[in-house]
């Protein structure tokens, strides 16, 4: 191969790469538009003036007049929006806290310790997971009712139900623990450390990414919990979460002209969750990647 041939090959390759990249950029830009368009629309609608254009559905994108009417409506006490938001935040916070603790406990036990019935337990939980969650809704409702955790007590009730079955979601975390060398444990045990000490002083400090991942996923779930939350809290407006309260604005005929208000509420719900997610994205990626490999 002579030098000139080489350069022509190089230029043709780089030219091909350049056209390839241009196509790639076009695809990416198109995708970005598709991906962001609905959110763009949502934000625009949320700023549509209620007094000038009413709050119903429209078939145009650009509001004729911008205003903060819809946001003002949410905060002036005409609805319990602040209360719903607070409920969701409370649920999300406590679920994230306790679910992380429980998942860590279960994962540690299943990953680091070998005991009688370990595989049986794992298999049993796997089978339990194959039952659809909604099947047991009515039963859970009446169980919670026995403890007074429906309607007025729905918020703690929802927290309880979420964390009670969170032990079964140990896969990702256990997978992560499995990658920490067992030799570390053995060395510590020779030094006289108990199992509990190993867990709290060694494994947990090493598991920051997975803890953040678990907490993040647990925190995000309650924001879209519509099904069970509506079932547990019915008839008690003050214990609704945002999803239950706001889907009414779209689905129920009692709420005419609430569409832009729904959009405004949706924006307010989406912003903190999105920011949090973006900030912790790195850990999320680690978690899902690990989880995908470990199943």
């Amino acid at each position: 191969m002579t030098k000139t041939e080489k350069t022509t090959e190089f230029t043709s390759m780089s030219a091909r790469r350049r056209t390839g990249n241009i196509i790639a950029y076009i695809v990416l830009i198109l995708m970005s538009i598709i991906w962001l368009f609905p959110f763009f629309g949502l934000v625009l609608q949320s700023f549509r003036s209620y007094s000038a254009e009413y709050g119903g559905m429209v078939d145009y994108l650009m509001p004729h007049r911008f205003s903060l009417d819809n946001y003002r409506f949410l905060f002036t006490g005409e609805t319990n929006f602040i209360k719903w938001y607070g409920n969701t935040l409370t649920i999300a916070f406590f679920v994230a806290l306790f679910q992380t603790i429980i998942v860590l406990c279960v994962s540690y036990a299943l990953s680091r310790m070998r005991f009688k019935g370990r595989t049986a337990l794992m298999r049993f939980w796997l089978i339990l997971g194959m039952f659809p969650g909604f099947l047991t809704m009515i039963c859970l409702y009446f169980l919670l009712k026995q403890f007074g955790l429906t309607q007025a007590g729905a918020v703690p009730g929802l927290i309880l139900v979420s964390i009670a079955s969170s032990g079964m979601g140990y896969y990702v975390c256990k997978g992560y623990f499995d990658t920490i060398p067992k030799a570390l444990d053995e060395a510590a045990r020779i030094d006289g450390a108990s199992r509990a000490q190993i867990m709290f002083q060694m494994i947990i400090p090493l598991s920051k990414p997975i803890i953040i991942y678990t907490a993040l996923v647990a925190f995000m779930a309650p924001w879209c919990d519509y099904v069970f939350a509506s079932y547990v809290a019915f008839g008690h407006d003050e214990s609704y979460n945002v999803a239950v309260a706001m889907t009414r604005w779209v689905w129920t005929n009692d709420y005419q002209g609430y569409f832009t208000r729904f959009c405004a509420g949706g924006v307010l719900v989406a912003i903190p969750v999105t920011i949090l997610f973006m900030a912790l994205q790195k850990y999320y990626v680690e978690g899902v990647t690990g989880g995908a490999v470990k199943g």
Binding site: C139, Q197, F277
Partner: protein
């Protein structure tokens, strides 16, 4: 899981029934001999649990057993007995009116629920009782052999060390029992009762009906569910297949596109795409559903620009709505797979590609012979969980179409885009047809279990779990 599992199954496979009975037999023998040979403390422990250990100075263990028995008796007398006695009929006392006041009769729902709870508690106590006898047996044996008994302190601290697994798992297991296992047993029982809108507690009683609901599910009469069940099941499987594989391959493609050499702002592109994961689905999906409505934004503009003369029936045409759901699911699902694939693609040793390139392989060939096999190998479990997850993907379906459009050709208020789970949900909430909901729930379980079992055993990466450790 695999190594230890295969060992376990090998043992049980010899003859599980025989093994079970021989274990049961040896248990009974031990209970008998312990009683015959034991001292008076042991003998009394058969009646008063933990009595032996208490008198032998094993305060912690003894008290534990004693308290457990006390609580059991308190529960049974104060609560359990009244329910379990009505278990066979699920209640007989009808609701009455005294003057205008309502006096509720038996509550079949609570009778069934607490009967199951009581049965489980009785089983647990029998197990505990058996452990209590074993404990006495061991203690006596140790004393006979002149060995010291375990100190209370050692017993208690063992829960932070040797028995740490019990400490860690106690609460999760209890929680899962109360809020998952118990309700599932309960709902399975409901499938064998006539609990529906005309037999609703507390006003009306419901009772056992045997297999009638299952017969109804498989009957082809005018109100039989069989043909509808077939339609819904088929769509559920078709949907899960498309939802899983479209997002899988497209997600991978997008990841490769962003990973491509020379593409800048990689982080920006990824961040834009993951916005669909971050925004709560009830917001994004409800908005998208309205966007594509017959009178929504998309149709509005297409009509205005004269592209179409009739609104496109995105949600009202059965076929089109199915396609739309799969497409919108791609919108939701690509980012997950993209994130997963991005990390994994980096793990593929670059010298593999290098040598392939020297052999003159095209990018396409490299994808087929290197990237795809590797990805399929490592993400096998993900594919399985994502498939079973999609079988039960409530949010996408319900927030977009609520299962519609319905049709006179389907029974039980099912729609063409209903999955088994959304159908189950409608049956529970809208129609309060709990008995059929329970039957459908069991069917969902069976479908999931069968598919999981088949696929699970085919996965190459599952066969060697401990290998990863």
């Amino acid at each position: 899981m695999a190594n230890s599992n295969t060992a376990d199954t090998a043992v049980t496979k010899t003859n599980p029934v025989a093994a079970f009975f021989s274990a049961l037999g040896s248990n009974f023998r031990e209970i008998g001999t312990t009683f015959a040979k034991g001292d008076w403390r042991t003998k009394l422990s058969y009646l008063i649990m933990g009595f032996g250990p208490l008198l032998r100075g094993q305060i912690a263990k003894g008290l534990g057993y004693l308290i457990a028995e006390g609580m059991f008796l308190w529960y049974m007398i104060g609560f359990g007995a009244q329910y379990i006695s009505k278990f066979s009929t699920l209640g007989t006392v009808e609701t009455q009116k005294i003057h205008r006041k309502t006096v509720y009769g038996d509550n079949s729902f609570l009778i069934l629920l607490f009967s199951i709870l009581t049965i489980v508690i009785i089983c647990a106590l029998i197990l505990l009782w058996r452990m209590n006898i074993r404990e006495n047996f061991i203690e006596e044996k140790r004393l006979r052999e002149g060995k010291p008994l375990e100190t209370n302190r050692h017993f208690l601290t063992s829960f932070l060390d040797g028995n740490f697994d019990k400490t860690l798992l106690a609460l999760p297991v209890l929680g899962i029992f109360m809020f998952t296992v118990l309700p599932i047993i309960f709902m399975i029982c409901i499938a064998f009762t006539n609990y529906d809108k005309s037999h609703q507690s507390p006003t009306h009683l419901f009772t056992w009906v045997g297999l009638e609901n299952f017969r109804n599910l498989f009957s082809f009469g005018s109100n039989g569910f069989a043909s509808t069940f077939g339609t819904v099941l088929t769509w559920t499987l078709v949907w899960a297949f498309f939802a899983t594989f479209t997002t899988y391959f497209l997600g991978m493609a997008v990841a490769m596109l962003i990973n491509k050499k020379g593409i800048r702002f990689k982080k920006l592109w990824r961040t834009i795409l993951v916005v669909t994961i971050a925004v709560p689905q009830f917001v994004s999906l409800l908005y998208v559903a309205k966007m594509f409505a017959g009178d929504g934004l998309v149709n509005g503009y297409l009509l205005k620009w004269g592209v179409i003369s009739q609104p496109i029936p995105f949600w009202t045409n059965p076929t089109l709505s199915k396609i739309m759901i799969v497409l919108i699911n791609i919108w939701i699902g690509i980012p997950y797979m993209m994130l997963i694939a991005t990390g994994l693609l980096m793990n593929i040793p670059s010298d593999l590609y290098e040598s392939a390139r020297i052999d003159g392989a095209s990018p396409w060939q490299m994808f087929w012979s290197i990237t795809l096999p590797y990805m399929l190998f490592v993400t096998g479990p993900y594919l399985l969980t994502s498939f079973t997850g999609n079988l039960n993907n409530f949010n996408v379906i319900y927030l977009l179409t609520q299962g519609g459009p319905t049709s006179g050709r389907l029974t039980g208020n099912a729609g063409y885009t209903d999955l088994l789970v959304t159908w189950l949900y409608k049956m529970t909430v809208t129609a309060t047809n709990y008995k059929m909901a329970a039957v459908i729930g069991i069917m969902v379980f069976l479908v999931t279990a069968v598919i999981s079992l088949i696929v699970y055993n085919m996965l190459p990466s599952v066969k060697d779990e401990e290998g990863f450790q």
